[in-house]
Structures are given as structure tokens and as C-alpha cells.
């Protein structure tokens, strides 16, 4: 059955295929915009053509003449509701709450009509006049405002420091001081963004792809000024998220208001082009990295400064210095992050938000340092492997980076690499081999889950988490099957509905850890009830010690080998169903942690917040080929070895990591949203010009799961890995490009033009 799945190694679960695979291959999986809703009207957004100023006039007469036109919602029509609150909401900009234009592509109206075609036509007939001001597009444009990142966001308290960087750097015999940059990127999940709002009386149901049903329910009810219990957010399947569906955008409340006003359900599917300005994106960043080292390779000083573009009103902080400052055994560390406010929509989380740009800069700099030291780049990392992280002096709960490098090197054949730059060639192709480290914090948050076990061996798991493609539905089911000793095929899992027990936002790769911990807790409560019942006086396993009992094959098994079937065990309880509702809170959580979970504001632990630093690591090795005449770049192969605690399902894990590395290749070579500096407008707003990797770009991709056991990280022993795979790839590619050509590219993506000599 499970063909082509990697064989589980130590501390890994069964590589079962995903629960929902069948639905997906038959077209039966319903994504929010597929859900049938009676009497549906269709909404189309009208967006701003200027990036800064105010809306002077909106001409809507022509639109209103289109047959089927139902209504138009604009500035003023959100009266009586609250503007969004940045945090759970993607931005504090409430586009219809005022006439101010904060960025290009901002929503200025929603047109609703009987049919999609009519709404499209009416929307195309709306014209606007603006009092236009000169916008700032981002770095290097006039009129931006720079503010410190430290303290600007609850997720980024302060710049990290250790020791006396200035002195150590000044004294270092070998050093570099370089600048790096990463571009704006858009998530571009293949599913289009959409909102469907339906009122039944005063009860609102939202169908929208989301990574945060509970948070959205709370924030939306706050905006609409209604009781959270009157809002339900449903998102059974999500067609790719990568962070884009974490924060709730302004559209959700606008569509809800329109539906209420019209007395009809409204569905608004956003065009791919409009998504660029109405959703979030990965902020462009710039970096200055200084590294000083002894001649033997020991780093004595590490300095990392970052500049990040954000919108005018919101302090979205990327802030990857938290991780880069802790990655190696630096003697001293100095970091600083600045935000550059421009006339842009507010950026947001995109697959490993802090690490992708910051670790790229660090790892590219590490490669430069290795060159300066004339050391093998892997050896250079080995020399700087820490026993404790340099900032707080805490141990790592587990750290298998070197094991990852060992396994990856072996599989890749790193020893065949000739160290001299430009020394490897195959006909007209220059060959380069490079490497980089991947790192991602293991986050965890409070989570609730309800589990039912039936006397016939069926189990049911309910949790308001989100199946965004990661396989969490399957993995949560596996956890229940394992703890309850039933077959996986007898477990059903419900997710993606705010009416279910609350789970944290599916972001920061916390879901597997948080959800599995809650499911495990509920299962264990069921076990305890069963164990108690069957071991009581006169019961089938009378006298058996509960501690030695287990569940398996639909039986309760005592330590002495006696067994009782589930049916008989349930009979002793005179029931056919046991239900447990569990609330999991991670170690170190505050007393308000649970309350905050229900309020959609989950408190995160893990990462560097606990007594030990909890990170997952990986090593990525890549080969590039560059054509001597055209400079076309190809990546024939990439090997990544990753260690992430207990691997619940090697099949889904491998798939996540593989997809991640492909993302990394896209980041290295293709992905960039271009911004026109004159009008602060995105240029390449479609999949024709925003290039994501296609099948043929991808050569051989090998994922190695390195066994790692970490009982300290969380009860389930798992580290998230959905955002690990893409972290190291761009720097590994840059390293390989340098090795092939001697050209150091510091600005992503690496373009053909960069390689002209």
C-alpha cells in the first residue's frame, strides 16, 4: 500500500498515505469556494490605481446600470464596524473605513451582482479620482520612514547581543563585511483567495481558506461588533497557504457587511492579480553581515543588521536575527533590525518568515568566510558547532546539525568536490557545489481537542486546526490510532471549523507539536478511564496495575498478558462511547494561556523562549550547472538531510521537506515580485511573470530524515518541519554558483544577468 514511502528509521512513525488523498484525486475535496451555498450573489473587488493619497471621487453610475447589479460597497459603508486590528488581521488598514489610500491595489469598493460575469462587468465600469501624493516604494525611494524593529512587535522584543562585538571584530585576523538582499515575494498558493459570507438571522458563517479559524472568528466578531459565538469560520480544505492565509485581510469583514446589507450570501473570489495588493507578502530585506574569525576558523564576532520594508501604519517585523544570532558558537554577537515604512501593503508571514531571508544572508556570509579562510565550508561549520547558544547560554534541547551534514555529504558525494573555484566542468557547463544550514524553531502553543473512542474500535478526533496540505489531519489521526490501539482506517478527523475545540493558528510549524500533544492528552484520558474500569474489582482485568496497561489491536492489554476486548471493556462502563476533551498547555505557559487560546490569541512557547533552545536543523547540498555562453542556470540535484525529533509520518514529512527545497530553489533563481519605484506598484502580478518552479526545473531531489530523539522539546517529542526545508536552499545555491563561476551573488534572486563577465 505505502509504495515509495521512505522506510521509517529510529523514532519515526508509519509512512501511511494521507487520509484525504482519495478525495483529492477525485476532485471531491471541497475548498471553501467550492462549497455550495443557496441564493449566492457574487462580489468583485475594485482596487486603487495609486499608492498614496486619498480617494476624491468614485464614479459608480455606469456600474449600477449593469443588469444583475445588486450593490456597491465603498468608503463609509463600514460605518458601525471597527477597523481591523493588526495581529490576527493582516493590517490595521481598514480600506473602506476612510478615504485614505495607503498602497497600490488597496480595496476601494466591492461590487455585488447576481452573477460573476455581471459583477466583473460592473466592477470594470467603476472609475475613481484620487488626490494623489508621491509614494515611496521601499528601499532607495524618497519619503520612507525608518523605525527600530526592537519592541515594535510582540514577536520581536529586542535586538540580541552577546559579548563585545566591536572589540572582537576589530581584533579578528580574518573578517568580512558584506551586504545582502532578498526581494519581495508573494506566496502564490495555487488556490485563489476567496471569502463567502452567509447570514442566517444574526448568525454569520464565513467560508474562507484560512490557517486560523478561531483567531478569525474572534477578530471578525470584534470588527462587526457581535458576539464571537455568532460567527463561525469554516475551511475544510485549504489549497496551499504558506502563511498567506494566516492573517485575516480586510476583505472578510467587507464581504460580511455586504451580505448582511443585501440579505443574501455573497462570494468574492479574488483574481490572482488583485491578490498581490490585497493579501500579504514576504517583505524585501537588506542585510549587513560582519564576521570575524581566528585563522583556525573559530568565529569571534558576528554582526547582523537588517532592514525590512513594511507599510506606513504597521510594524511587521521579520526579525530573523533571533535565529541567526544563535546558530553558531560565535564569540560575540551584535544585531540590529530597522523597519523602513513605505507606501505598500503590509507584509506578512511567508514560509519560515524570519529565517528565509536572514539565514540566507548569514549562510551566504558563512560561505564567504570559508573562502576567506580557505576552509571547506562544511568543515568551517563543524569548527563553529556550539554546545550552548551564544545569546542566553542555554543548551539546545537537541541539535543534530553535524549528523545532518554527515549524512548529506555522504549521499551527495561531497568528497568529490574539487575545492578550487571554477575547477569543475562538463562540456559547456560549469559545475559548482555548495552547501548551507537550515534551521527552524520548534514552536508550540496551547491546543484543545476532543476525542471519542467507540466500543467497536472506531475513533473520532475533533480539533479546530487546519489541513493546509501538511498532512496534519493524517498525523493527528495516527496519534489517536497509536494511543488508542485502533486501526488508522477506523479513525476520522474533523478540522477546519471554528465550532470545533480551538487550535492555534497553523503557523510557525507548530501544528504537529501542538495538535498531537492535545490529541495525545485526550487519548490518555480515555485510556485512564478504560484502565481504571477494567482493573476494578470484579472487572475483566481485576487487579492489573494501570501503569503497565496498554491498548492494541482493539484490546486492553495488562502487563501480565491478560487481555480484554474493547467491547467488553466498554461494557464494564455500561457505555459504547468514551469522550474526552483535552486542553493542552505547553510547559512554561502563562496562567492566561488557555483563555487566550479560546480568544484566538495563542501564546507560543518553544524556540528560544524556554530553558533550552528548541530548534530543528538540516544541511542542504546542491549542485548547479551554468552554461558558459548563455549563463543559463540549472540545478541537476540537491540533497537535504534534516533532523526534527520524532517523525510522525516519514511520507508526509519527506513531502514537506521536498516541497520546501523546491521553494528554496524558486527563491534562489526565480521568485521576485518587482516593484515599480515610481508608483510603488507591483509589476509581475501573475504566474506568467511571477515565476515559480515548474516540474522540469527540478532535478533529483533527495530528502534524508536523520533520526533524532528529543524528549525535552514537547510531550509528543516532535519538531515542526514544514518550514525547515526552504531555509538553507538559496544560500546553498549561491554558494554553488560561486564555486562554479567565482562570482558571488549577494542579491536574490540570482539572475542570468548577474553571471555576465
Amino acid at each position: 500500500m505505502s509504495k515509495e514511502a521512505p522506510a521509517p528509521r529510529e523514532n519515526m512513525g508509519a509512512p501511511v498515505p494521507r487520509f484525504d488523498a482519495r478525495l483529492k484525486v477525485t476532485g471531491g475535496a471541497t475548498y471553501p469556494a467550492d462549497i455550495p451555498v443557496a441564493d449566492l450573489a457574487y462580489g468583485v473587488l475594485v482596487t486603487s490605481l495609486v499608492a498614496r493619497g486619498s480617494l476624491a471621487q468614485l464614479h459608480t453610475d455606469k456600474a449600477a446600470t449593469v443588469p444583475g447589479f445588486l450593490g456597491l460597497f465603498r468608503h463609509g459603508d463600514m460605518a458601525g464596524t471597527q477597523p481591523p486590528k493588526f495581529g490576527v488581521a493582516a493590517s490595521s488598514i481598514g480600506p473602506l473605513h476612510g478615504d485614505r489610500i495607503f498602497h497600490d491595489g488597496q480595496i476601494i469598493a466591492l461590487v455585488v451582482a447576481e452573477t460573476y460575469e455581471a459583477a466583473m462587468e460592473a466592477a470594470s465600469l467603476v472609475t475613481a479620482e484620487y488626490d494623489e501624493e508621491r509614494p515611496s516604494a521601499g528601499f532607495d525611494t524618497q519619503g520612507t520612514e525608518t523605525t527600530p524593529g526592537a519592541g515594535a512587535s510582540p514577536l520581536f522584543g529586542e535586538d540580541v547581543h552577546a559579548g563585545d562585538f566591536d572589540a572582537a571584530y576589530a581584533a579578528a585576523p580574518v573578517k568580512i563585511d558584506e551586504h545582502y538582499s532578498t526581494p519581495t515575494q508573494h506566496h502564490n498558493p495555487i488556490e485563489l483567495f476567496s471569502t463567502t459570507a452567509a447570514w442566517r438571522g444574526d448568525q454569520l458563517t464565513i467560508y474562507e481558506p484560512t490557517q486560523n479559524v478561531t483567531g478569525w472568528k474572534t477578530e471578525l466578531s470584534r470588527q462587526l461588533g457581535i458576539d464571537p459565538n455568532r460567527v463561525r469560520v469554516i475551511s475544510p480544505y485549504v489549497g496551499g497557504a504558506f502563511g498567506s492565509k494566516g492573517p485575516m485581510t480586510a476583505r472578510t469583514a467587507i464581504v460580511a457587511v455586504a451580505a448582511r446589507r443585501l440579505g443574501r450570501p455573497v462570494r468574492c473570489v479574488v483574481t490572482r492579480m488583485q491578490a498581490y495588493g490585497t493579501q500579504t507578502y514576504r517583505a524585501e530585506t537588506r542585510h549587513r553581515v560582519r564576521i570575524g574569525a581566528e585563522r583556525g576558523g573559530h568565529i569571534t564576532a558576528f554582526g547582523h543588521e537588517g532592514w525590512e520594508v513594511t507599510s506606513r501604519p504597521d510594524a511587521y517585523v521579520v526579525g530573523g536575527t533571533i535565529a541567526t544570532g544563535r546558530l553558531y558558537a560565535y564569540g560575540s554577537v551584535a544585531t540590529h533590525v530597522d523597519l523602513v515604512h513605505a507606501d505598500r501593503n503590509t507584509p506578512g508571514y511567508m514560509r519560515s518568515p524570519p529565517e528565509t531571508p536572514y539565514v540566507y544572508a548569514l549562510e551566504n556570509a558563512m560561505d564567504e568566510m570559508a573562502v576567506a579562510l580557505a576552509m571547506d565550508p562544511i568543515e568551517f561549520r563543524r569548527v563553529n558547532e556550539p554546545t550552548r547558544e551564544p545569546i542566553g547560554g542555554k543548551p539546545f534541547s537537541s541539535r543534530s546539525l553535524l549528523a545532518c551534514y554527515d549524512e548529506a555529504s555522504k549521499a551527495f558525494g561531497w568528497s568529490d568536490r574539487e575545492s578550487a573555484v571554477g575547477s569543475m566542468r562538463d562540456g559547456d557547463w560549469m559545475i559548482g557545489m555548495g552547501c548551507a544550514t537550515a534551521v527552524y524553531p520548534t514552536n508550540i502553543a496551547p491546543c484543545a481537542a476532543r476525542v471519542q473512542l467507540m466500543a467497536d474500535g472506531h475513533a473520532r478526533v475533533q480539533c479546530g486546526c487546519h489541513e493546509i496540505g501538511t498532512g496534519i489531519r493524517t498525523v493527528a489521526g495516527q496519534m489517536a490510532a497509536e494511543r488508542l490501539g485502533v486501526e488508522l482506517t477506523k479513525v476520522s478527523v474533523e478540522m477546519g471549523d471554528s465550532a470545533l475545540p480551538p487550535a492555534p493558528v497553523s503557523g510557525g510549524s507548530n501544528s504537529t507539536a501542538s495538535v498531537c500533544s492535545a490529541v495525545m492528552k485526550a487519548c490518555d484520558a480515555i485510556r485512564n478511564r478504560l484502565f481504571l474500569a477494567v482493573s476494578g474489582e470484579g472487572a475483566p482485568l481485576a487487579g492489573a496495575a494501570n501503569s503497565g496497561m496498554s491498548l492494541g489491536n482493539g484490546q486492553v492489554i495488562a502487563a501480565d498478558g491478560r487481555t480484554v476486548t474493547l467491547a467488553d471493556a466498554f461494557a464494564t462502563l455500561q457505555t459504547v462511547l468514551i469522550e474526552e476533551y483535552a486542553e493542552f498547555t505547553p510547559k512554561g505557559a502563562s496562567p492566561q494561556a488557555l483563555k487566550k487560546l479560546y480568544a484566538g490569541q495563542p501564546e507560543f512557547r518553544g524556540g528560544e523562549r524556554d530553558d533550552a533552545v528548541k530548534y530543528a536543523f538540516g544541511a542542504e547540498l546542491v549542485e548547479v550547472r551554468i552554461h558558459t555562453l548563455t549563463r543559463e542556470i540549472r540545478i541537476p540535484r540537491i540533497v537535504g538531510a534534516f533532523a526534527a525529533g520524532r517523525i510522525m509520518n516519514p511520507r508526509t514529512a519527506r513531502s514537506q521537506l521536498m516541497g520546501g527545497m523546491i521553494w528554496g530553489i524558486g527563491s534562489a533563481l526565480q521568485e521576485e515580485t518587482e516593484v515599480d519605484p515610481r508608483n510603488a506598484r507591483y509589476v509581475n502580478k501573475d504566474l506568467q511573470d511571477y515565476l515559480v518552479p515548474v516540474n522540469a526545473d527540478i532535478g533529483d531531489v533527495q530528502v534524508i530524515l536523520v533520526p533524532e530523539t528529543d524528549p525535552q522539546v514537547n510531550p509528543a517529542g516532535v519538531k515542526g518541519l514544514g518550514e525547515l526545508g526552504n531555509v538553507g536552499t538559496p544560500a546553498a545555491v549561491a554558494s554553488a554558483v560561486y564555486h562554479a563561476t567565482g562570482i558571488r551573488v549577494r542579491d536574490l534572486p540570482i539572475r542570468l544577468d548577474n553571471l555576465l563577465t
Binding site: S2, K3, E4, A5, P17, R18, D20, A21, L23, K24, V25, T26, G27, T30, Y31, T115, M120, S124, P189, I190, E191, L192, Y237, V238, G239, G240, V269, R272, D428, G469, T470, R625, H627, L629, T630, E632, R634, P636, S655, M658, G659, G660, I662, L669, E672, E674, V683, D686, L687, Q688, L691, P693, V694, N695, A696, D697, I698, D700, R751, D753
Partner: protein, 493 residues
């Protein structure tokens, strides 16, 4: 005037049923119709621009060779163009009364989906492939999947699934195999030789009965938008909201779908798709076969026509430069009148072609290069597949007995406002010995021929350097030194 009877409705088969649509806008897409009118939501929308393949369905049509199914992008396929076809969606893949199709089983076992949004599209593309070739090579699979994007899986798992399909049974209960005879019969019945006219005034579409009828329709309505494969026009609608009415659909016209060779000249009817042209072109002019494989994805090649590529007049259309280098001519027709012009004269300026009102492109005539001449075409793009050209160069060289250049024709795309010949470079080379010295000396003349632009695909400097390097490359290849540039990744690896 043509005497074809007139019908006022579109008729086609949808999965197992015949449907008749009377009320259809000329710019209504198959995808919107499926999802919104028919509530069949297994087919997904990911871009509405032909880029992602989430909307892939199969369209079966009767051809000279029988009933043929091809994958197409429902998002840019107009409903009106489906008259007389069989539309097959993801809802129709499971065997009747059976479990899953081998394609679906393989996709499950090899973990070919994560979020699953792209999956129906991949299943349909693989289904289309499997019908033609149950044991495809890697290169064939890659070609079939070029037009499908997946943002989650990284493709490897999908490739493995594709390789394994035939391990999951022969698919004797495959619905399209089971129904084949019945479908042929039904489609044959639907062919009534009528002209279809739906709508009136501006919102009007016409499906002419035959080529003569088309000529008549166009003469009567010279402003009508001609739609062949709709891979360009589809985007005018879905992306640029252009009003294209009235529309004349021509993709079905047998009279324009012929490709044949006579006296060393290949004549390609304007309605011949890339897929249909592939066999003959790749056999006779292999470099063109290679090039076609890098145009769009499979769905776009199944729909898009060479005539449309030329008529569209884009400076980055891929077929005009090599055709110009080969000395192709173009036949235009208005009513019963025809004229034939050198292809390069068709392109006057950006967005302007030598086409009179009421006139249409009937065919392009491409001379097969002589045995003793050399021909090559190189496409440079950022992404290996399904990417628009940054620069494209085509070279056609004939040497005299003494090793001097008797004739060289060089044409580029992406270097000017139209596909353009490098006349100054040609002049420098002609009559000179074909040597490295001559080639190097000719590079300067590029500045006279081209002043390329900088855009997000490439900078002006890069384009200029790449254009020059392509000549160097061509020279090197004629010396027997290097292998061709467009090696596949397997060759590169």
C-alpha cells in the same frame, strides 16, 4: 454567401451527457460555465490565465485520425469553441461502477498531492497522457506536465506516480475506453454542417461551417475577433477584461487544420496546433520540434495554433523568427482572394501587422532547409519550461564550396518591437569565410540591428550579450564542437 444552414445553439458532450447551450456569451469560458452554471467544482481555478493547469480538462474531437482527446485549460477555452466536442472533467475519470482509475491510484500511493488543489488538473493531464502512452518515458511525462504547477509537492512524487500508472492495471474499465464507440457515434451525429450563430448585436458568436463560410463571415464582419486556440485571446478576456465580441471561432475548421509537405516546402494551415504540427516539423526540421516542446505547456500546445502565434504579432512569439530565418511565406485570404508575402513583411510595427479588414491568415509555408545548409534556433528563458522567451535567435546558413558564406539569414525575437532580421549582421557575414574571425567581426553590427529593452525577464545588456553569444554558439556548433544548448536536464545531469 455561404449556404450553410444556421443553428442558434452550441451542442457538445459533457462527460456522459449531451448538452445544448442557447444562452452563451462569446467570451464565456468553459471553466466558469462548469463551476458556476453547472456547479461542477472538481475542476479548479488557480489563475484564469492558462499558467497553472488547475483547470485542466480533456476535450475529445473527431479528427481525420479518429477520436482524439487532448488536455486543455478550461479557464481560457471559450464555451463557443466546443461545438461538436466531448468535454471530460475530473468527475468522469473513475471507472463506471469501479473503484479508482490507475492514474488516481498511483497519485495516492506516491503521495502526489499535499494541499490537493492542483491535483485534479494533474490527474487530467496524466489521464490524457496515459490514453496516448501507457508507458511513457520521463521526457514524455515531463512534457505532459509542463503546464501544471504545484506549489506544494515539489513534483518528484508526481513524477513517480506518473511512471507507475500502468502498474495499477490496464484500465479496461476506463470510462472513455468503454464509451468510445458510443461517443464517436454521438459526435458524428452532432456534425450537421451548420453554421452556429448565437446572440445578437455586440454579444455575438459565430462558428462557421467551413473555411469558405469563415471567409464570408469575416468579410461581412471585418471587425470580428478571430479565435483559433484562444491561448492569446483568452487572456485578453480573463486578464485584461477586453470586449472581444463579435467572435468567430475557427479552431474546428478542417480546411485550416492541414499540414503537408510538397516540393520541400511545409505548408501549415492557420488552424494547425503545435501538437498537430509537432510530428512533421520535428521529423523534417528537428530544431523546430525542440522549440515547440518549449512553448507553453501541453495544454497550450494542444490549443494554440501556429497561425495564431503569427497573427498575434508579438515580438516574443516563438515561431516567427525561425520561420523568417527559413525564408517562410504567409498566405492571407479575403473572401476568395489570396495573397502570399514573405513572413517578415507581415510584421510592420509593434501591434501592427499587414492584415486588411476582412482578411485572415490562411497558411504559412516553411521551406525545409537544404541538406547542405545549417539551421538552428535557440530560446533563452529564465525558467526551463513554460516560460516566455527573454531572447530567441534563429540562424540559417548556406556555405559556398570555398567555405565562404553564400547566404545567412538570422532572425531574433525579444530584441525589438517585432520579430526581426539581423540585416546588418547578415551583411557583414555574407561573402566572408565562415571563421571565428568573421563571426567576431560581425558582433559589432548587432548594435545597428537592435536596441533591446530592459524588462523583468532580462536587461538590455543581457539580451545584447546573449544575442551575440547565440551567433558564437551557432558558429561553434557548425564546427562540430559543442552539443546543442537546449539540452534537457537529463542530458545536463
Amino acid at each position: 454567401m455561404s449556404s450553410a444552414p444556421i443553428r442558434n445553439e452550441i451542442r457538445f458532450l459533457l462527460n456522459g451527457r449531451e448538452v445544448t447551450v442557447r444562452d452563451v456569451a462569446p467570451d464565456a469560458t468553459l471553466l466558469d460555465w462548469l463551476r458556476l452554471d453547472r456547479s461542477m467544482r472538481g475542476t479548479k481555478e488557480g489563475c484564469a490565465e492558462g499558467d497553472c493547469g488547475a483547470c485542466t480538462v480533456l476535450v475529445g474531437k473527431l479528427t481525420a485520425g479518429g477520436l482524439v482527446y487532448e488536455s486543455v485549460n478550461a479557464c481560457i477555452r471559450f464555451l463557443g469553441s466546443l461545438d461538436g466536442c466531448h468535454v471530460v472533467t475530473i468527475e468522469h475519470v473513475q471507472p463506471v461502477g469501479g473503484d479508482l482509475h490507475p492514474v488516481q491510484k498511483a497519485m495516492i500511493d506516491f503521495h502526489g498531492s499535499q494541499c490537493g488543489f492542483c491535483t485534479p488538473g494533474f490527474v487530467m493531464s496524466l489521464y490524457g497522457l496515459w490514453m496516448k502512452d501507457a508507458n511513457p518515458s520521463d521526457a514524455t511525462i515531463e512534457k505532459a506536465l509542463q503546464g501544471n504547477l504545484c506549489r506544494c509537492t515539489g513534483y518528484e512524487a508526481i513524477m513517480r506516480a506518473a511512471r507507475a500508472i500502468s502498474d495499477y492495471g490496464k484500465g479496461a474499465s476506463d470510462p472513455l475506453a468503454v464509451e468510445r464507440a458510443a461517443v464517436i457515434e454521438k459526435l458524428t451525429k452532432l456534425r450537421d454542417g451548420a453554421r452556429v450563430e448565437v446572440g445578437s448585436g455586440k454579444a455575438r458568436l459565430v462558428v462557421p461551417a467551413d473555411v469558405d463560410d469563415f471567409a464570408a463571415v469575416l468579410e461581412a464582419e471585418p471587425k470580428a475577433t478571430i479565435v483559433a486556440g484562444s491561448t492569446d485571446v483568452g487572456l485578453w478576456v480573463t486578464k485584461h477584461m477586453r470586449d472581444i465580441s463579435p467572435v468567430v471561432f475557427i479552431g474546428h475548421l478542417e480546411g485550416l487544420r492541414r499540414i503537408s509537405e510538397k516540393d520541400g516546402v511545409i505548408t501549415i494551415g492557420a488552424g494547425v496546433t503545435y501538437t498537430e504540427a509537432f510530428d512533421l516539423l520535428s521529423q523534417r526540421i528537428p530544431a523546430l520540434g525542440e522549440l515547440i516542446n518549449r512553448i507553453g505547456g501541453e495544454q497550450v500546445r494542444n490549443m494554440g495554433t501556429i497561425g495564431g502565434n503569427i497573427a498575434n504579432g508579438s515580438p516574443i512569439g516563438d515561431t516567427p523568427p525561425p520561420f523568417i530565418a527559413l525564408g517562410a511565406t504567409l498566405t492571407l485570404r479575403k473572401g476568395a482572394e489570396r495573397r502570399t508575402i514573405p513572413l517578415e513583411e507581415f510584421f510592420i510595427a509593434y501591434g501592427k501587422q499587414d492584415r486588411q479588414p476582412g482578411e485572415f491568415v490562411e497558411a504559412v509555408h516553411v521551406p525545409v532547409p537544404a541538406k547542405d545548409s545549417r539551421f538552428a534556433v535557440y530560446k533563452i528563458s529564465k525558467r526551463r519550461d513554460e516560460d516566455i522567451t527573454a531572447a530567441l535567435g534563429a540562424f540559417h546558413l548556406t556555405l559556398a564550396a570555398d567555405g565562404t558564406v553564400a547566404q545567412i539569414r538570422i532572425a531574433y525575437g525579444g530584441m525589438a518591437a517585432t520579430p526581426k532580421r539581423a540585416a546588418a549582421v547578415e551583411a557583414v557575414l555574407t561573402g566572408k569565410p565562415w571563421t571565428e574571425v568573421t563571426v567576431e567581426a560581425a558582433l559589432e553590427a548587432y548594435a545597428q540591428d537592435f536596441t533591446p529593452l530592459t524588462d523583468m525577464r532580462a536587461s538590455a545588456e543581457y539580451r545584447m550579450l546573449a544575442a551575440r553569444n547565440l551567433l558564437r554558439r551557432f558558429f561553434a556548433e557548425t564546427q562540430g564542437g559543442s552539443e546543442p544548448i537546449q539540452v534537457s536536464r537529463h542530458q545536463a545531469a
